[in-house]
Every structure is written in C-alpha cells, then in structure tokens.
Symmetry: C2
Amino acid sequence: MKLEQATIKDIARELNLSASTVSRALKNYPGISSETKRKVKAMAEKLNYRPNAIALSLRHSRSFTIGVIIPEVVHFFFSTVISGIEEEAFSRGYNVILTQTNEKLIREKSSIDTMLSNQIDGVLISYSKETTEFGHFSSLLEKGFPIVFFDRVPEIPKAITVTVDDFGGAYSATKHLLNQGFSRIVHLAGPPNLKISQERLRGYQAALRDHGIEPDPAWVVPCFLGTDQEAQQVTTKLLHSLPQRPDGIFSHNDMTAVGAMMACKAAGLRVPQDVGIVGFSNWQFCSMVDPTLSSVYQPGFEMGVKSTALLLDWIEKKFKPEEADKSVILDTELIVRKSSVR
Amino acid sequence: MKLEQATIKDIARELNLSASTVSRALKNYPGISSETKRKVKAMAEKLNYRPNAIALSLRHSRSFTIGVIIPEVVHFFFSTVISGIEEEAFSRGYNVILTQTNEKLIREKSSIDTMLSNQIDGVLISYSKETTEFGHFSSLLEKGFPIVFFDRVPEIPKAITVTVDDFGGAYSATKHLLNQGFSRIVHLAGPPNLKISQERLRGYQAALRDHGIEPDPAWVVPCFLGTDQEAQQVTTKLLHSLPQRPDGIFSHNDMTAVGAMMACKAAGLRVPQDVGIVGFSNWQFCSMVDPTLSSVYQPGFEMGVKSTALLLDWIEKKFKPEEADKSVILDTELIVRKSSVR
DNA sequence: TTGTACGCGTTATCAC
DNA sequence: GTGATAACGCGTACAA
C-alpha cells in the first residue's frame, strides 16, 4: 500500500478551481479572494494535504537537503557534531542526509555519488582514514559545488574548513603534564595523513621544547587504529622497551588514553602518582573511568552548527568562497581530572 | 554556483538523438543499435552524466529513501543500530535520512511530517521518552504506510516491531547476581512508559521470585533520565535510606550502572566484594571502567539490519503486514565481567 | 531502430 | 480574481 498523498490537483477538483488558484491561495498570494483562500485551506486541511517536496526540488533544482559524510557515528565526538548540524539545518529549513564511510575511501566516493544523484545542495565532510588524495573533492570544488570540511580537513586550495585548535589543545595538555612534574612524556599518535594528528603531535613537541626538552622520536608511538585494545598492547610494550620508563602519556584520543591507563594499572603502576595521563576529545566516559581521565574538550556541537552555517550561507549565496577565507578554528579546553594531577 | 548536472537532454542534443533513445540506450533496452548504445554511453561518461534521483522519485512516486527517527545519536546503542540500518539499506539501493528527536515528542511529529513531504517510502522509529500516545503512528499505519518500530516499540495494533529479549536479559542478569550470592538486589528502573523498561523490570522481578524472594517495590528506584549523575545521586541516597543496605544493583542501562558504581566506591564500598553490579546494553566503556562492568549485550547492528530488512520487504510488497506476525525478538547475552563476580 | 507525446506535482508567466 | 500553459528530468505507451 502506498500512502495516497492529496495533491493540489485533488483540492482543485474538489472545489472546482484550477490548480494555480489553489497554489496561490495556499501561499497567501495577493489577488485571491479571502473566501477562496478560506475554502482552499479548509479543504487542504480536510484532505491532509502536504506539499510534495520532491516536486518542489525538481522545479527549483534545489532539494533543500544537505549531505553529511563522516567516518563513523559510533564516535561520541561525531555524534555531537551531528546534533549541531541537525540543529542548524532544521532551523533553516534544510533536511540532512547522513552516511558513514566506516573509514573506507570507496564508501566515501560512492556516498558522494548517490548524494549528487539526489541533488543535495551541498555537503559536509570529515574524510576517512584511508583518504590520502582528494581528487573527488577538488573536482567538485572547482565546479563551485559547496563543500565544507570539518575536523578532518584536507589541505587543498579553496577548501573551507572548520576545525578545533588541535595544536593548542595538545600544547596545553602536554604543558599541564610538565607542570605537574611529569617529564618523560610519550605521545600515542594518530594516523599521520590526518591533519589533526599532525597538529596534535606538533603541539606536544612544541610544549616539550618550550620546557627545554628536545622531543625524542622514539617517544612518539603510533596508535593508528585508535582503539583501547591497541593502546593497551602498545603501552605495555612501551613500558619495558624504553631506556627510561615514561611517566606521562598524552594520547591523541580518549579510547587510547584509557587503553594506556589500563596497561599502566596492569603493570602495577599507579595513575596519576606514577604515570600522568591526558586524552583528547573529552568523551562521556572520561568522568566514569577510575581515575577520572583528564582530556582536551572539543566543541563538537558548536563545530556542527558552525560548519552548517557556513555551508548554508554559501548555498544561499550569502558569501562567495573566493572572496575571503571563511575557515574557522574553534577553541579547545583542557579539562583537568584526576589522571594527571599528583 | 549550482552544479550544472548533465541531463539526458544534453546527451541527446550532442548526438542529435531524441531523449527517449538516450534513455533507452543507457538502460540497455533491446531494440537499440549497439552502435548507438556505445555512442550514448561514451557521451554520458564524457559529460559526467548522473541520473537525477529527484526526477525518478517524482515519476515513480517512490523515493527509494527511508526515514529513521531515533531519540539520540550519542547513544552508543543507537549508533550501532544506525550502522546496521545503513548497511542493509545501501545494499538494497535505498538512501537513509536520519533525524533525532532529542527525546521530544514535538520533534518526533515534525520529523515525520517533513519526511512524508519528502516522500519517503517507509520509516523506522524508536520513539521518544515523552511519547505516551501513538496517534501520529497509528493514523499512518491505518493508511498502510510502512513503519517498523525498533527497540522502543509501542503496543498498538498492526505494529511491526523488532526488539531484544529485554525480559530474558534482565532475568539472567538478576539470576547471575543471585547465583553469586547477592540477595538484596535493587533495580534502577527506566521510564515506565517504555516497554523495554517494563520488561527489564519484569525480568528482574521474575528472577527474584524464582529464587524465592518476593520483590519489594521499595527496591525499585526510578532513574528516568538515565544519566550517570542521576544514578550516582539516587544510589548514594539509597545506600542509607533502605532498612538493609543493598548488596546488588541491576540497572536498566550502563550509564546508570556506572553512576551506581561510582556512588558505591565513594561510599567506601568495594565492587564486587560488597556490592555486585550489572548494567544493560554493553556499551563500549564497560570494559574500560574499574572494575569492568558486567552487562547485557544487545545486538544493535543486527537489530538495524533486521528492522530495515522487514521494512524494505514490506515496501517492496514481499509480505503483507496483516498476513502474519513478522515481529522479531533478538537474543541478548549476559557479558560477565568483574563488577558482579566475587 | 528511433521519435513523439504525456505525466509525475508544483509554480511562474501570461492571458482573460 | 482566476485559468491555461509550460517547465523541471525521466520513462514509457504508442506511432512511425
């Protein structure tokens, strides 16, 4: 059974009017008798009329729909971004169609394809870990198609981006550990093709240097999967392999920070007395683990709102992307909890 | 700048053919010379032709899009369900448009409205905590519009539902606590208008009775928000207000279970030696808290796949909802960790 | 083997 | 104050 939606024609037939009159009456056009308007609206109500957005899209070559492409919904951070996106989009009369790539480049490309088929007006993208070249983005950008990148942003010309201050967040996290008297600080690093990983690494290094410590590459260990299991293994190995046992860990995300914490506890080390730990993102569970985990808060909701606002402004031609650099960097905030204070 | 998509007409013009010939050639209709097909396809490639899904929707009165309405994406459980939904939908050629209600009834209703305007072919719903009457669902169902409910399902006629065995999960969780020697077990209960809450409560009560314990209403405490803070407060109060101190906690979700755990630790009680705790859902962080949290696993991904399969089968008329009860109950599994084993 | 005409729902434009 | 027509992109019954 398909839902038989009443159309303008149905209303017109019932009232012996033309479709155009009905259309005008519904939209309160001048030059329609108020009597007619009344009758039309009553009938629309009675037939439970709902404008057909598909027909409107076809007519206007505008779908009032934006696409969102993210790696995974299960990430707490992305969940909060989504909330921000929906908030802004709905309040401005746009729909949102969402796909996750599961970190696969193929999915990323096919998502864009189907979205274009569906005549989306623009797209918000945070790309996958597999993505290393950006041809599928830049070809669209060159045609003037509105794209705003958030969080995981490519370094290509004309790209409009919304990020957080990853460098600053990493810097203050590391500085905080140093201030607490931790000096042999390792960094569990994210995938190097993501700019956020690079920035967090740079922030870590800068803080060390400013504290008179020359960063040692051996103290930067890859945790590219970003899972707690991986971090647990890596950290366990780390505690034995380095010439000096690390006494601080700055991790590129919270899952890995918790993994590191578990590894430390399993090795008989006390957190924070023996090892100080700081994560990145401030996920829900930071306040639930024991000891509670210090972390760098990223304003996910705000990022969603801001990216969407930029995209819709672009779509609605409230600015031209070439006119000015509209890219945005949002502030982070270090949330100090027990895992890093001794 | 709008993206100037090439249309069938463009291809036709370039090749001095009619639009219909191009259309047929692209779809490999018989009775088109292979030479023409070749030329058309080459030109389609060259112009980067993409069929306009909007036009197709209008023509077929089918959008090949399904709607998904959930309370919140930030819930780990719902995130996994979404993954399952996307998986099944995409593999069968459908798009997904997602909205979250933020537990608001108004948002739920308006979401349905905009989705209907967008001519979705069917909808998957897990309703909000505010929803207590189901007129906005049943009126659609009566018109034969395909709706499949998952997880939070209403008890209305004709509703097709996919749930997990909440009763069974709660029963085995409680039984497990009893078997471990905990006997004064409280239940942190969810909102009573949700059937899942009722079932989890019933499972808890049944397990107690089967163990010769008559359930005491005073031992069932509301935790309707479902947050860890709320649970922490409630539990702290609980530890002092009851005539006998509880030695076991079965909570209706994991956040509240962790809140309870924190309250117990803060009160100087050891988990699991003094108090055994079991949660529900098996969120990511269960293995990250200390002690690790026992919980009832719900197959979220599978739930997404199954609900979507049912919905699409209905849409594609592979079954008529009135013919048979197609509702599905998925098995849960108790994951025993440290918080409940002494 | 290919072309013509029409309709899906809506609205801008021109006509009366 | 209201009606007829055309157009958005596509597919198909019918005609040639």
